[in-house]
Subunit: 339 residues, 2 copies
Amino acid sequence: MAASIKDVAKMAGVSVGTVSRALNGYTDVSEKTRKKIKDISADLGYTPNVSAKNLSSKNNKNVAMIASGLLDEKQTDDFTMALIKGAYTYMNRHQLSIATYAISSEDQKVKGFEEFCREFSLSGALLFGLKVTDKYVENICDSKIPCVTVDIRVEGEQIGSVITDDERAFEEITQYVIDRNHRKLILVYGRKQAMVAKLRYRGFCKALKKNNINIKDVPVLDSNFIETQAYEKTKELLLKKGQDAGSVFICMSDITAFGVARAIRDCGYRVPEDFSVTGYDGISFGRYVEPRITTIDQNVMQKGYEAGKLLDRILKGNATEKTVIVPHSLLERESVRRL
Amino acid sequence: MAASIKDVAKMAGVSVGTVSRALNGYTDVSEKTRKKIKDISADLGYTPNVSAKNLSSKNNKNVAMIASGLLDEKQTDDFTMALIKGAYTYMNRHQLSIATYAISSEDQKVKGFEEFCREFSLSGALLFGLKVTDKYVENICDSKIPCVTVDIRVEGEQIGSVITDDERAFEEITQYVIDRNHRKLILVYGRKQAMVAKLRYRGFCKALKKNNINIKDVPVLDSNFIETQAYEKTKELLLKKGQDAGSVFICMSDITAFGVARAIRDCGYRVPEDFSVTGYDGISFGRYVEPRITTIDQNVMQKGYEAGKLLDRILKGNATEKTVIVPHSLLERESVRRL
DNA sequence: ATGAAAGCGCTAACAC
DNA sequence: GTGTTAGCGCTTTCAT
């Protein structure tokens, strides 16, 4: 049997209460006693049991990253990974513990957010991969449990959000393309119901308007954020219209941009000589894919880091701002030609 | 305040003991009582608290995925993600709960494996990203806590391992290349101390021997599994020797194969016309990178799934075989030319 | 088939 | 500055 607080107390010749106080940094313990207790704890390899702490105290600070869509096998992305890394890095640097749980949209219907937190004694959570239709979105609004949503803005007393200014970012990259004298744009849309897609679309329209390009003239290809779908739609368009289709494909994700570029190649054209292509996301693998696609880098890892930080602040009651916009950056590479 | 077992007991007019038994599927509860209790639990939105369960019972089945190297920001890979997905999928399908924790090599020195499990009341763990030099490797051998290591074989009563037959896989791909009449091979080595690299090297040598190729004649480039390093070393070699360097680069990872291919291109050569290249891993992004590199697919997601399954079995005491070799497959693409 | 009660490891309020 | 003790929510004997 492993050492418990009792063993430490016994060995140190003090009460368990004193051990608890000594180890938790209370000031009303003599330095001498504290030192002795710490030494003995170390000797015994004593580690406080989190479950017991959770039960007895209301001031625990267990946080979790709850990821929806972690179980979906569909599309590969390294978002979740980067996000986890970012969040864990923050927590690690601040000596906080964090664990990741996967909760599918289905699971959310069965067990609410509060129930989940209660079940695992969580005092706060990072929510990632939530869809606007997910049950938790509703749940967290009705709840008082601190949480931070990533990529989706939710209002609430104890709710923070970490987002990218998708609208502005997409306007930026669209403007970038227009600045290189492209006028016949083709938009490769993401998932219909996705909030981010809507925001990016808004930015797109804004840029067009500013430059007097009629949105009606822009062909829109639905990709559902899937590479193969972008590929098919692009191929179809190219087979039908060839270079008359337009001069540049503006994509709502890097993955779909890959599909588009592949279709362009397979139809016998070149990027960027015949068609220009832009992406969005800045996924890490983008650097390996030729031609290297010009894109918006979302800085996902930083997003994770900021999410962790924000939750920490909310938990401590000193979150001045509840919405953090993580700066994006235009990653200029070689997929856009100047006309 | 949320509903506890007491509330349910009170509402149902029974004792807490009965509620506990009813909800945990004990047979010595009348169906009538059980039904009533279940209904009331549902009404109240009652969710058993895991911490309390952990404290009071020794039969808890909390498992965790403990990933070393999750905090490293270095190289991006989608291994960990695929592995997590696989493991979570298994757990999800079998109604088990799992959480992921990140433990750096440094952390392992501070707190041992047993202590960690005790701290979080874990009854078993999946270990991923362990290096042979990591403290936990030693720890798990001295421990009786069930665990499964991925990609590293550890012997022990309660230890399972899920691996790829790296030696055979690497021999296979080497033979594949030789079968296409390549004789002047160049090996791009992984990380010096990595066990997997050693095994792959062994397979490489085996293939050479079988085909009477002298290992002494094969230039070896150290990549440390890093793309840029593979790039630099390749460039250096090509600048010095040009096509005399050899006809094919056999790489110990896909990432390094990307670096090699990039260097080849930058030196004005083409893949596979001037140089052939092979990878290893089967990372999901491989399908987007041109030229598409022929490689060994490790089926990482299945590895995660198998790891979850194996741990489950060990926990239940019915693991017949403690080492699971997940089948790999040769992914033939277009980076190897037949001479 | 069910109730009563001890106890898991710890914290926090209170007493001294 | 330190000891004592009542819980936290649950499981699990032991009675009945």
